[in-house]
């Protein structure tokens, strides 16, 4: 069992029990990962996420590289290729879109960090704002969970925002600069192109499974040289120039090195961060596992965004999409592991007990 405290008061616990990987990220959330199926020489794992009484599941492909296992998000289904093309390519005319975040506490709190695009030339930019917003909502929720409530942000972070706002016009004034957002948008486009390609294979008679070959030493997606920009998904504590600092959901990193060091870390540069996190421009070491989880989260949120876009296309000023139908992937979505809630709860209790014992030992031995 590994217990990791971060600087904002959160705690991540990772343990392996009888082949299952159990990860808790706070009092009420986490996931249980189990072996699921082997197809085409690849191992696939099911994850059951549990958060505040709700289950959701996902498939993750196993990679084994440099003597370590990694788990990369794997879609259970694809949209028809034409929908990815519609999302990738420019729309006939730029679109003004109102997100309706004006009254949301997170939006006011992070107003100095993020502002949505004033207009959307393509779905890729809409998806970029969608996933940044989703991360900031998660970061806000995590802070509320730890602290009970959040006080007002620093005065220079305040953004007067009441009622539905079509889009903030001052995107140049926020920490998440247009350049950084463009880098995220490029990642979105690259991922859309990759999934369009996979969707074409999934829809063909050949299918993916027959194309897959056992690859026992494949670089995990997070180290793909084409993947440089990462959006932080969960709270992390890292070291910058000898001092510890925090990264929280919605901060943006640029990976600088491709080869992990002996501790399995790669160097990244902080491209954008919130006021209380590691300063933008700092170079920090981040583990490949954490980068892979950022990439997984990015893909999950992109899938969620594509689903939202499929529901909203043709409404609220968004152009109509040609075809939002789906086709199953070669690995079906697993059912939720209904024992996950208890497993996560038990792990939290075990970690509480361990920490309590450590504190008692520390106090009885003079606080060393």
């Amino acid at each position: 069992m590994q217990i990791q405290h971060n600087l904002h008061g959160g705690r991540t616990i990772v343990a392996n029990h009888n082949g299952a990987r159990v990860v808790t990220m706070g009092r009420h959330g986490g996931y249980v990962q189990r072996s699921y199926v082997t197809r085409g020489g690849h191992s696939y794992y099911s994850r059951t996420y549990y958060y505040h009484g709700a289950y959701r599941t996902g498939i993750y492909r196993g990679y084994y590289w440099g003597g370590r296992p990694y788990y990369g998000y794997y879609p259970a289904f694809y949209y028809h290729p034409v929908y990815y093309g519609w999302a990738y390519n420019p729309w006939p005319a730029p679109v003004y879109y109102g997100w309706g975040w004006g009254g949301a506490p997170w939006y006011g709190y992070y107003g100095g960090y993020f502002a949505p695009y004033p207009v959307y030339p393509s779905a890729a930019f809409w998806l970029t704002d969608y996933l940044i917003a989703a991360n900031l909502q998660a970061a806000y929720a995590a802070q509320v969970e730890i602290n009970g409530s959040l006080g007002p942000p620093a005065s220079d972070q305040l953004l007067a925002s009441m009622g539905a706002v079509p889009a903030a016009a001052n995107s140049n004034a926020v920490a998440l600069s247009p350049e950084v957002k463009r880098a995220i948008a490029e990642e979105v486009k690259a991922q859309l192109a990759a999934e369009q390609s996979q969707a074409a294979k999934a829809g063909s008679s050949a299918g993916q499974q027959s194309n897959a070959s056992g690859n026992s030493n494949e670089v995990p997606p997070a180290l793909d040289p084409a993947r440089r920009t990462f959006v932080v998904a969960n709270d992390l504590s890292v070291v910058a120039a000898g001092a510890e600092c925090a990264l929280t959901a919605g901060d943006v990193l640029t990976r600088l090195t491709d080869t992990p060091d002996a501790d399995n870390n790669v160097n990244v540069s902080v491209s954008a961060s919130k006021k209380t996190d590691c300063a933008a421009g700092k170079q920090v070491a981040v583990s490949v596992d954490d980068l892979q989880e950022m990439q997984n989260h990015f893909r999950e949120q992109l899938a969620s965004g594509m689903g939202e876009l499929a529901k909203k296309q043709g409404k609220d000023g968004l152009p109509k999409a040609p075809d939002t139908g789906t086709v199953a992937g070669d690995v079906p979505e697993p059912p939720p592991d209904k024992t996950a809630a208890k497993t996560l709860e038990d792990q939290e209790k075990a970690a509480d007990q361990t920490e309590s014992e450590v504190k008692q030992e520390a106090s009885s031995s003079g606080g060393s």
């Binding site: 069992m1 082949g19 299952a20 189990r34 072996s35 505040h52 259970a76 939202e308 592991d337």
Partner: protein, 267 residues
């Protein structure tokens, strides 16, 4: 008040997230993965071969550690395998009558029946897994990892364990529940991940070559050593607690405290 509001907001976010994920996936369901497939993914079977020296492991499988006594095995070369039943947390060893019956049959061919009770902590590989949904049984044949258990001369004792579940349980239970039940008797070894035959084996054990080595000399831990040096000497800790610059590695009978990645204290 603020905390109550926060909880309501969090619950709403969770429900919306679940709804978004489930609705976005509607209409895209493939054939479900069978329990047999899921167990096969979890438990990689050992590949056995034989040479002039007798049977040997060609490719190791998932390493399992026996958690309860009572599993009766026979030498690998025996054609008959005795079934040990596991039900409601209890091991039911094969009846002596059955064992004697097989022994009598073997005597007719001039052979002696040799049996071996596996001990708690013994390491074994699965060699076959069969799911019978109609009988609510999962049968797993196991083979001893002789190098792990330091059995000399090697015997590769084998046994069959039948996990019996309540009526209709296999039809509706998820793989996790079945694996947890199997784990009560045959737990996946903590020696964690390794690559096996092009697959990532999560939580699986070490192979023959990677089996835990007997420590010839006592290991020493010194102040100033790194986490890697300590792990090289003592192996992976049971627990790790990270408290900023201070890190605790907790072993069964030892607690090592690191400050800034270097050993500062050992208790």
């Amino acid at each position: 008040m603020g905390q109550k509001l926060a909880r309501v907001i969090l619950a709403m976010i969770a429900i919306v997230c679940a709804a978004v994920f489930s609705s976005s996936r509607a209409g895209a369901q493939g054939a479900p993965v069978s329990l047999q497939e899921q167990l096969a993914a979890q438990y990689k079977v050992v590949k056995m071969g034989s040479d002039s020296g007798g049977p040997s492991v060609v490719e190791p499988g998932t390493l399992l550690a026996i958690q309860k006594g009572g599993i009766l095995g026979v030498p690998y070369s025996d054609t008959s395998v005795l079934s040990t039943k596991y039900e409601n947390g209890t091991v039911h060893s094969p009846s002596t009558l059955m064992s004697k019956g097989i022994g009598f049959g073997m005597k007719k061919f001039g052979k002696e029946q040799t049996t071996h009770l596996f001990q708690v902590g013994d390491k074994v590989y699965p060699s076959k897994i069969e799911v019978d949904v109609n009988k609510d049984d999962v049968a797993m044949t196991i083979v001893a990892c002789d190098t792990c258990n330091k059995t000399d001369p090697p015997s590769y004792n084998k046994a069959k364990v039948v996990f019996h579940f309540s009526k209709g349980a296999l039809a509706k239970a998820n793989a996790g529940e079945i694996e947890d039940t199997i784990g009560q008797l045959l737990s996946i070894s903590d020696d964690s991940q390794q690559e096996q035959g092009g697959q990532v084996a999560q939580g699986q054990g070490q192979d023959q070559q990677g089996a835990p080595q007997q420590q010839a000399e006592p290991q020493t831990i010194e102040k100033g050593q790194t986490t890697d040096q300590v792990q090289a000497a003592l192996g992976k800790p049971e627990k790790i607690v990270n408290l900023g610059p201070k890190q605790l590695y907790i072993y069964k009978d030892l607690k090592v405290t690191f400050v800034n990645g270097k050993v500062a204290d050992v208790q």
